[in-house]
């Protein structure tokens, strides 16, 4: 498969997704980047911005199994991973493992910050290891496996914020903003008229996704761009005037990988500086901790990243 054909495929993918999702092209791109990197993403958005629709649509267009987990404070790890149930066949009883919703290709873990730390860690462990151990038995999760966890930036009372060490495991933190006037007009017009959803074509399959994940890692990057990435990440550790803590080397790896995925999505055979600058925000925004002074000024981590990109050149 040539890169031109890949670009065509991705364009078809975007077109199919746009039949359901109006606008939010950048969000769709970032979600696809996370999938191509075989990594997970954290989506932060207000309610009603189409997060579930987006993930469902992507799963349908890519012919992947989709599962949704609505996190609540009473959700138990077994509700996510699965449990052993007693079954009786021909008078004989035995334990049978009933798979939980995590045994899908794409998982939407809605409002992950509402689940207890115990449940959160069960999900995060499965995300990291791509396997589940229950009653001394290990069950491998089907590939490709991708978790899109969501967080509500409001209504933080009674929630269990993900610790920084856990948040670091998500490759991207994607911010979903409100649609523009034109986009909202189109959304309101379409969804107030159309009762049923349009049938979507299947553009890619599970094997294609796996092949694309392999291709992503093969995209070449110049040495000076790798140094550029490292400069960006390492400077966050010395910016004591605005940051309490900077990003770890995981951020360097993540940024290079995300840049490679973006290059592939754009049909390029090499990583460009534009890819790195664009991916710096979703890769690093959740890995930086602002100090009190910066918070007092009302700065966000995006502002800090903008400042860094202005200062540093490859």
């Amino acid at each position: 498969m040539t890169t031109e054909k890949l670009k065509e495929k991705f364009e078809q993918l975007y077109k199919e997704i746009e039949k359901v999702m109006i606008g939010q092209r950048a969000v769709v791109e970032q979600v696809l980047v996370a999938m191509l990197c075989d990594a997970n993403a954290l989506l932060e958005s207000y309610p009603g911005l189409g997060k579930t629709s987006l993930v469902k649509t992507i799963a349908e267009v890519m012919d992947l199994k989709f599962a949704r987990i609505q996190n609540t404070p009473d959700l138990m790890p077994s509700d996510i991973l699965g449990t052993e149930v007693i079954e009786e066949v021909n008078g004989k009883r035995f334990f049978k493992f009933q798979q939980g919703p995590i045994f899908a290709n794409i998982i939407l873990a809605d409002e992950i910050n509402r689940a207890t730390p115990k449940t959160q860690s069960a999900l995060l462990e499965a995300m990291q290891e791509k396997q589940v151990t229950i009653a001394n038995k290990t069950y491998k999760l089907e590939r490709p496996f991708f978790v899109l966890a969501t967080q509500n930036p409001i209504e933080q009372e009674g929630t269990y914020l993900l610790p920084e060490a856990q948040v670091d495991r998500f490759l991207l933190k994607i911010l979903v903003t409100y649609p523009t006037m034109d986009e909202e007009y189109a959304i309101a017009e379409r969804y107030s008229k159309v009762a049923s959803e349009e049938a979507l074509r299947k553009i890619l399959g599970a094997n294609s996704v796996l092949a694309l994940q392999k291709f992503t890692r093969q995209v070449p990057i110049a040495n000076d761009l790798i140094k550029y990435v490292i400069k960006i990440v390492s400077i966050t550790r010395t910016m004591k005037d605005s940051l309490e803590y900077g990003a770890s080397p995981r951020a360097s790896i993540g940024l290079i990988l995300a840049a490679k995925a973006r290059a592939l999505l754009h049909g390029r055979t090499h990583v460009s500086q534009e890819d790195i600058d664009s991916m710096a925000f979703p890769v690093m925004r959740h890995r930086l901790i602002l100090n009190f002074e910066a918070e007092r000024k009302g700065m966000t981590t995006d502002d800090v990243i903008k400042e860094i990109l202005k200062k540093i050149k490859p």
Binding site: T2, T3, F215, Q218, V219, P220, I221, A222, N223, D224, L225, L264, T269, H270, V271, S272, Q273
Partner: protein
């Protein structure tokens, strides 16, 4: 079929040749400028040559060691980011890298060799060299200079040497027993006579005042230091004879 490595090698060689020519022309211009300056300030103009040779070597080294692919990409935007990515990933082999190399080679074939040479720049430099050469020949033939820096430096050197020799109240080295070979023509005998002549001159100056009053004996009027000088003088003359 041209391999990518061969293509990079050829590109690098072409670039180095072009760098050599452009740096050479730049150095020749600087040489003539320096030559003219030295002529105008009456300093030997051949001194410009070693300076320019050092400059040429240093500049060429600096240019060659610059990031060559970035340099080429800046001159040919069609290769932007692709050339150095392909050059940095020579050890990798996969579909995407092969596709990248193929696209770079395709782009390189569309770039003419003449695009590496800035003809306008070379023409300007050759014109400047011609003008400077004519000027240098003309000024050298007339012997014209604005400031005589060379002469000033020569005088400075000469004066400095004499000054050394004319230090006041220096006891002649023959009296101190420390005859310095090389003080005067490296000849000890001549040094001795020279010291004596100096001593005679010293004595003349010393005795002039004493000669005016004739009441006391000459010896009584002299200070001890002067008496030592006279005694040593006569003993030396005696030893010579």
């Amino acid at each position: 079929m041209v391999t990518f490595k061969d293509a990079l090698k050829e590109l690098d060689t072409t670039r180095n040749r072009v760098l050599f020519i452009t740096n050479f022309l730049k150095s020749v211009i600087l040489f003539f400028i320096l030559y003219l300056i030295f002529l105008l300030i009456n300093i030997p103009p051949y001194l410009a040559l070693p300076i320019i040779v050092i400059y040429f070597v240093a500049q060429l080294r600096k240019e060659i060691h610059k990031k060559q692919w970035l340099d080429i990409e800046s001159q040919h935007p069609i290769l932007k980011e692709r050339l150095r990515t392909a050059a940095d990933t020579l050890t990798e082999d996969n579909i995407i890298v092969r596709k990248l190399r193929a696209s770079v080679i395709k782009s390189l074939t569309t770039i003419p060799l003449s695009s590496f040479i800035n003809l306008k720049y070379i023409t300007k430099n050759l014109f400047a060299i011609s003008v400077l050469a004519i000027l240098a020949v003309y000024i050298a033939s007339t012997g014209f200079y604005v400031i005589d820096v060379g002469g000033f430096i020569k005088d400075l050197v000469t004066n400095f040497n004499l000054k050394d020799k004319l230090l006041k109240h220096q006891v002649p080295s023959s009296l101190t027993g420390k005859v310095k070979v090389g003080d005067v023509n490296e000849n000890q005998a001549i040094q001795e006579i020279n010291n004596q002549l100096r001593l005679r001159a010293d004595l003349q100056n010393l005795t002039m005042n004493e000669y005016k009053s004739g009441d006391k004996t000459f010896e009584e009027m002299l200070s001890k230091k002067k008496r030592v000088y006279i005694r040593t003088y006569f003993s030396k003359i005696r030893s010579l004879t």
